[in-house]
C-alpha cells in the first residue's frame, strides 16, 4: 500500500513538473523569436553542417537579439538527405512553429524544402544552396550565396584564361541537383570560350570506388577535370585518379570548400582549384573582421565558406526582422527579400528576387592548406 502511495505521488509530481515545464516553455516562447535551422550534421556532407553550425553560433553570440527579443535557434539534422530535409522543415514549421528557417545547405535538400515553406508562407534563407532553380518563381526562398550560372562562368573563364585548357572532362554527381546544374553552366561557358568537353562521367554521392570512371576518362586525355561535386567524393576521386595515373589538374566548385577535403584527400588534392563564395583573406567589412576574430577565439581556426555564409544568412535574417519591426513571418520575408547593401561577413549583399549578387573567390590547395588566389566580380 505504501509503495502504491509512493508511486502515485511520484507520478503526480512528474506530471506537474512536466506540465509546468511545458507552460514555462510556451510562456518563454512569446519573448523569443524562433528560428529553425536545417543543416546536415551527419551523412555524406556532414562537414558542411558542422562548419555552418559553428559559424551560426558565433554569429548568434555577436548578435543575440532582434527587436529586443532573444533569438532561439532550433537545429534539426537533415542527414544530407532530401527526404529528411523535407521532414525537418515540416517538423520545424508545424511542431516548433518557427518564424523563419535557415538552411538547408545543399541545393537538392533546399529543393525538397521549398514547396513546404512556400505553402506555409515561412521565409527560408539558404546559406549555400547555389542552384538557380531554388529561388526561381518562389516567394519565400532567399540565399546568402551566389548562383551557379555565375559560378560556372567563373570556373570556365579561369579554366581557359589561367589554366590554358582547351579540353576538359566532366565528373558529375548524378544524385545532386547542385552538381548536375553547375556542370551544365560550366559546359555552356567553356564551349562559348572555345573549349571542348572530351569526356563525361557520372558518380553518386556516397560512392567510394571510382576506379571504373577514372579508367573511362583516361583514354580521352583531357587537359583539366571539372568536378562540381562535394568534398568527400572529390577527395576520394582525386586519390584514386592520382593512383591510376590521371594527373590532370582538378577544378571544383564551392562543394570542395571544406577542410575534410584535405584531410581525406591528402597529397592527392594538392593543386586542386575551386570557386567559392568566401576566403578569410577576402574579408573587408567590419562585421566580417569581428566575426573572424570571434570565430578564431572560439574554435582556434579560420572560418571557412560554410561558416561565413551561415553567419551571413543569420545576420541578414536578424537585420530583416529589425527592419520589419515584427516577427510576423510574412513581414520578415518581405524585409529579407528587400535586403540592400547589407555589409555582411562575405561582403556587400543585395538580394534580387531572393538571389545574392556577389563576387566569387578562387582558392587553391597548397601544401595541405587553402590558399586565396583571386576574387572575380560579377
Amino acid at each position: 500500500m505504501k509503495r502504491l502511495l509512493f508511486k502515485t505521488v511520484l507520478f503526480a509530481l512528474v506530471t506537474i513538473f512536466a506540465i509546468g515545464y511545458g507552460v514555462s516553455k510556451t510562456y518563454a516562447a512569446s519573448n523569443t523569436i524562433k528560428v529553425g535551422v536545417v543543416y546536415s550534421m551527419t551523412g555524406p556532407v556532414a562537414s558542411f553542417g558542422q562548419s555552418a553550425w559553428q559559424g551560426l553560433q558565433v554569429a548568434k553570440e555577436i548578435m543575440p537579439t532582434a527587436l529586443g527579443k532573444k533569438i532561439d535557434l532550433i537545429l534539426v539534422d537533415d542527414q544530407g538527405d532530401k527526404v529528411q530535409a523535407a521532414n525537418a522543415v515540416n517538423k520545424l514549421i508545424y511542431d516548433n512553429k518557427v518564424d523563419a528557417i535557415i538552411g538547408p545547405l545543399i541545393s537538392g535538400n533546399v529543393m525538397s524544402a521549398t514547396p513546404i515553406v512556400e505553402k506555409a508562407k515561412i521565409p527560408l534563407i539558404t546559406p549555400t544552396g547555389t542552384n538557380p532553380l531554388l529561388t526561381e518563381g518562389k516567394n519565400f526562398i532567399s540565399r546568402a550565396c551566389f548562383i551557379d550560372p555565375f559560378q560556372g562562368k567563373v570556373a570556365a573563364i579561369y579554366a581557359v584564361k589561367d589554366l590554358h585548357a582547351k579540353t576538359a572532362a566532366l565528373v558529375i554527381d548524378s544524385a545532386q541537383d547542385y552538381s548536375v546544374g553547375l556542370a551544365k553552366f560550366f559546359e555552356e561557358n567553356f564551349k562559348k570560350l572555345g573549349g571542348r568537353i572530351v569526356a563525361k562521367t557520372f558518380i553518386q554521392t556516397g560512392e567510394s570506388n571510382f576506379s571504373a570512371q577514372i579508367a573511362s576518362l583516361k583514354p580521352a586525355n583531357p587537359q583539366i577535370i571539372y568536378m562540381p561535386c562535394y568534398y568527400q567524393e572529390i577527395a576520394l576521386f582525386a586519390r584514386q585518379a592520382r593512383e591510376f595515373g590521371l594527373k590532370q589538374p582538378i577544378l571544383a566548385g564551392d562543394g570542395a570548400a571544406e577542410a575534410a577535403l584535405i584531410k581525406v584527400g591528402g597529397a592527392a588534392v594538392n593543386g586542386l582549384t575551386f570557386t567559392t563564395g568566401f576566403a578569410p583573406e577576402a574579408i573587408k567589412t567590419p562585421l566580417g573582421k569581428k566575426f573572424e576574430q570571434a570565430y578564431q577565439a572560439k574554435y582556434h581556426k579560420l572560418p571557412d565558406n560554410f561558416a561565413a555564409l551561415s553567419a551571413d544568412a543569420y545576420f541578414m535574417l536578424v537585420n530583416a526582422i529589425d527592419r520589419a519591426k515584427s516577427d510576423n513571418p510574412i513581414k520578415i520575408n518581405t524585409a529579407l527579400r528587400a535586403t540592400k547593401n547589407f555589409q555582411g561577413v562575405t561582403g556587400n549583399i543585395t538580394l534580387v528576387k531572393g538571389d545574392a549578387i556577389k563576387p566569387a573567390v578562387i582558392e587553391k590547395v597548397e601544401n595541405g592548406k587553402f590558399v586565396y588566389v583571386t576574387t572575380i566580380n560579377p
Binding site: T42, G43, A46, Q50, S174, F202, A212, A215
Partner: protein, 297 residues
C-alpha cells in the same frame, strides 16, 4: 583499348573480392540461423573504426592494430548475437530480421553519437601506399593485396568448415539445429563461433575498404553491406564458395557497366540491386544454391 579493359577487369576483381569477404559473413549466418543479419554491414564499419582508433589513438603499429581490430570485431559480432539474436532464436524469422535491422540502426547511431558524423581520414600504412605501373596499366598495391587476402581467408574458412570438428558442427547445425543439439553438441558455442568468424571477415573487409577509400564515417557500412547481401544471394545464400563467386561477379559487372555504358555510370550502385531482383525472380537459389531447406555450406 586493351589496357583499358584489362585495367577495368583488375579494378573489378579488387572491388569484387571486398564484396566477397563481406558476403561470406551473410551467408554463414544465414546458413546456421536462416536469418539475414542486416547489421553485418555495420560490423564492417565497427572493424574499420577499431582499426582507425588503434592506429591514431593508441599509436599501435598498423599490423597490431589491424589484428586487434579484427579479433575485437569478432567479439562484437558474438556480443550482438548473444544480446540481440539469441533471446529470440526460436521466434519467427521476421522477428529476427527486424531485430537485425534494429541492431544495424543502433550501431550506426551509437557511432554517430560517440564519434560524430564528420568523416575521418583513415591512416594508410606505407606498404599499402604504392602503385605498380606497367605500360599504361596502374595497379595500386592494395588492389593486389585485396584478392590475395580474400582468397587465403576463403581457403582457411573452407578448411575450418570441412576439416575440423567445429566446422562439421557448423555444417550439421545448418542441416538441423535440433538434432545437432540432441547429439550433445553445444549449439550456442558453435553459433558464437560462426558470428566470430563472419564478423572478423567483415572487419578484414572494412579495413581493406578503408585502406582503398580512406574516409570512414558511421554510415559507411550500409552500401557495402547491401551490395554484399546482393552478392550473397547471387551466389546462393548459405553457400560460402557461392558468396565469394557472387562477390566477384558483382564487382566485375559493376565495373563493366561503367566501361561499356558511360552514361549509366551514375547508376552503378543501382545495378547491384537490379541483379538481386533478377536473381530472385529467375533463380532464387542463386548460382551455387541447392534445395533451399537442405544442404548448407
Amino acid at each position: 583499348m586493351l589496357t583499358t579493359v584489362l585495367q577495368q577487369l583488375i579494378n573489378g576483381l579488387s572491388a569484387g573480392s571486398l564484396y566477397a569477404l563481406v558476403a561470406i559473413g551473410y551467408t554463414m549466418v544465414y546458413g546456421v540461423l536462416r536469418m539475414i543479419n542486416f547489421a553485418h554491414g555495420d560490423i564492417l564499419m565497427v572493424g574499420a573504426y577499431l582499426a582507425f582508433f588503434g592506429i591514431s589513438a593508441f599509436m599501435l603499429p598498423w599490423w597490431v592494430s589491424f589484428i586487434t581490430a579484427i579479433i575485437l570485431t569478432g567479439f562484437v559480432g558474438v556480443l550482438v548475437e548473444k544480446l540481440a539474436y539469441k533471446p529470440i532464436r526460436n521466434a519467427s524469422r521476421v522477428s529476427l530480421l527486424i531485430t537485425a535491422v534494429g541492431v544495424s540502426f543502433f550501431l550506426e547511431n551509437l557511432f554517430l553519437v560517440l564519434f560524430g558524423g564528420v568523416p575521418k581520414a583513415f591512416p594508410i600504412a606505407p606498404i599499402f601506399h604504392g602503385v605498380l605501373n606497367y605500360n599504361q596499366l596502374y595497379l595500386p598495391v592494395v588492389s593486389i593485396y585485396t584478392p590475395i587476402v580474400a582468397l587465403v581467408l576463403l581457403y582457411m574458412l573452407l578448411y575450418i568448415l570441412h576439416h575440423t570438428k567445429y566446422g562439421m558442427a557448423m555444417r550439421s547445425i545448418a542441416l538441423d539445429i535440433d538434432t545437432t543439439s540432441l547429439m550433445g553438441i553445444n549449439v550456442d558455442i558453435v553459433i558464437s563461433l560462426v558470428f566470430f568468424l563472419g564478423s572478423s571477415l567483415a572487419a578484414v573487409g572494412g579495413i581493406l575498404w578503408s585502406t582503398q577509400y580512406p574516409s570512414i564515417n558511421p554510415l559507411m557500412g550500409i552500401m557495402p553491406g547491401l551490395k554484399a547481401f546482393a552478392a550473397a544471394v547471387l551466389g546462393g545464400i548459405g553457400d560460402v564458395a557461392g558468396a565469394a563467386i557472387g562477390g566477384l561477379i558483382l564487382g566485375i559487372s559493376e565495373v563493366l557497366i561503367v566501361a561499356f555504358f558511360p552514361s549509366l555510370a551514375g547508376y552503378k550502385d543501382a545495378f547491384a540491386f537490379l541483379l538481386l531482383i533478377l536473381v530472385l525472380l529467375f533463380k532464387p537459389t542463386g548460382i551455387m544454391g541447392k534445395e533451399l531447406e537442405r544442404k548448407r555450406f
